[in-house]
Symmetry: C2
Subunit: 395 residues, 2 copies
């Protein structure tokens, strides 16, 4: 889960500061990065629909070596972007989400590796000027209007195919590794199962391949508030008032689900939202944690798109409905890192995934991520895993 | 969590049948019960507001003994009612929710005990003809119109006070035990802490006293879809079209949260909602579990009230915000039964609650409930705990 720039200020920052985690270092160490755009004149989905003029954003850190063998692809989480490391300008408040483990001399050492991070199709953050994506909010060149729900369903296999085209456009035929957190881990599994000969290593963080019906249903619960909002209007809201309230509540569910009670209690406790407004005194008086989640979700909703949320839900559901058994095709040595307090992907699902990959013959190493943030530990609490990640990438 | 009569048919029945659980026995054994109404001309809440003409429904099983010392009060869960055991007529499809452990010769033996089960204030099921409650949907005698959000905030202490008045109206000054599941367990804790000399035993099933900020936030997530629905209209919808869509989605969250992946996978798997409608083919094509939860929630929403949902959320939040420390006042020997797969009250919260009560000096016994239904195991999978419950009640 990405907690966007403003949202981060609203809630996670409190938690990060409280926990002594902050990512990034002194300005002198900052990696300065640029957003680039990859374009395909035409892309045909697994479902057989052709989309014209597909664009995704990407960033890279480090340099590609002469034989083009040192590239690591980083795939992002549900509400994430291609901003995995570094800053766009020295004054940026926060760096990319995995800056703690990607950079010069860091666990994924950009002095050695060429790291590519790309936006997915149907990326959530359509209102973020640094995000480039193609989805329901994009203009259909054939009609001159946004696709809305006419945009085809896309799957992680489609995400992978677009990423593969990007990677190939750089002259890279085999990746040293694919790595990602949460939905990024799911894409990494997809890559390694679809192209076993093109993925040298697989690093899957806080993601499981086989959460099945349970995962499908929770994704539907995440999306439900959007459908309740009449402004969603069956996906037809471009140029009108968007379903901000529904999207906000959807983002709130995701934020809470991805976190943990240790964070909730430490960050908010049982404090009231407003001094003098006892929640016992009026039905509308609320607790600080309700207000905090609401403020964070409000900021995120302002730069997100409701239809893109629904398309991401669909892509995740399709992945969860597929049998994990197909992961037996994976050949890459695999590192699976999980958070024992993860409420989104219970560790039992992660361990089952490791077992499936092992049963296909690939070596699988696992490791636990600590921290107070449940699922989000895999995004915000990765620094202590640095040696393990470095060892895996450089072995 | 109660899965209402129709809802039960829609989803849980499948699961129950599949798991070989079904409650109830042959018709010859059926306990036939009646709904009764308890009325108070006036009740003043903890917040100091007076409600006129308060009514709650109740049922009883077994007979009160001569010295009125054999009464057990059963308090219900969030979406439950006072129908804890028996059938209203021999032809009823399903008996009360704890029929597996309440009845003649059963764990809570109605040949020995006089069991009272009561509806709470602001009970959710206002459209169920067998439920009697007072809340926002009730007519305010002063205005002749439904209270709506003018109804005062009520807490579990208020629930307890009304139940206490009911119990006292029967000439009972001390209860042999108070027992309940989920929100029923929370009320039971409340009873035993508020009136340590009036509660002989405390049986708390799938409930914890100290889930704090996390519990408060999840309750807010449950309620959110109601507030997104413009038909909710700030609680003013009586005589107009009610916010059924928001309420439905709220009930869906509760149903899923209260269940477990073992149930999800076994009952629905990754099947499609409709044959020939591949979820990969269109954004609107869904999975069977999405459809199942939707159908169940639709049936439940038809007999539930959105404002009552919000008032129940508030009462639960107030309980969760209170420090568990006050449970040290409990004197009653306590039996705490929990489900290790519970997603609503993690077992760590339940164990912390047991420790708090123990530290106050009361003896606390605990026990695990098995089954495939997560939190709901405490409602639908109690039969195997019969010996433990009987031993505790008859000791």
């Amino acid at each position: 889960m990405r907690l966007g720039r403003i949202a981060r200020a609203a809630t996670l920052a409190l938690a990060l500061v409280g926990a002594g985690l902050g990512g990034g270092g002194a300005a002198a160490e900052d990696l300065i990065v640029q957003k680039k755009t990859f374009e395909m004149p035409s892309f045909t989905t697994q479902g057989g629909r052709t989309i014209k003029n597909v664009k995704i954003g990407w960033e890279s850190y480090g340099a590609l070596n002469a034989d083009r063998s040192n590239a690591i692809l980083v795939t992002h989480f549900f509400s994430g972007t291609s901003h995995a490391a570094g800053k766009y300008a020295p004054g940026d408040k926060t760096p990319g989400y995995w800056d703690a483990i990607i950079g010069p001399g860091k666990a994924i050492d950009t002095n050695k590796f060429f790291v590519i991070a790309s936006d997915t199709l149907v990326n959530l953050n359509t209102g973020d000027p640094k995000v480039v994506t193609t989805g329901p909010a994009s203009i259909d060149p054939d009609t001159g209007k946004p696709y809305g729900l006419n945009f085809p369903v896309v799957s992680f296999r489609d995400f992978v195919e677009v990423q593969k085209a990007l990677v190939e456009s750089l002259g890279i035929s085999k990746l040293h590794a694919v790595a990602g957190a949460s939905m990024g881990a799911l894409q990494a599994y997809e890559w390694a199962a679809d192209y076993p000969d093109k993925v040298g290593r697989l690093m899957a963080v806080i993601g499981a391949a086989d959460s099945g019906a349970w995962g499908i249903a929770w994704l539907d619960v995440w999306a439900s508030p959007i459908r309740v909002d009449p402004k969603w209007n069956n996906g037809d809201y471009y140029g009108k008032e968007p379903p901000t309230e529904g999207l906000k509540q959807a983002l709130k569910v995701v934020s809470l689900h991805a976190n943990h009670w240790l964070w909730a209690e430490k960050t908010f406790g049982r404090a009231w939202a407003e001094e003098g407004k006892d929640p016992a005194a009026a039905i509308g008086n609320r607790y600080k944690i309700e207000q905090g989640l609401e403020q964070s979700a409000t900021a995120r909703a302002a730069v997100s798109d409701a239809n893109h949320f629904l398309y991401l839900v669909k892509a995740n559901q399709l992945f969860m409905a597929a049998q994990g058994e197909r992961l037996k095709a994976i050949k890459a040595p695999t590192l699976i890192l999980y958070s024992p307090t993860d409420q989104v992907f219970d560790q039992s699902f992660v361990k089952a995934t490791a077992d499936i990959i092992r049963s296909g013959g690939a070596p699988v190493e696992t490791g636990e991520i600590g921290g107070n943030f449940g699922h989000l530990n895999g995004v915000v609490a990765m620094a202590p895993l640095s040696d393990k990640v470095r060892g895996f990438m450089e072995k």
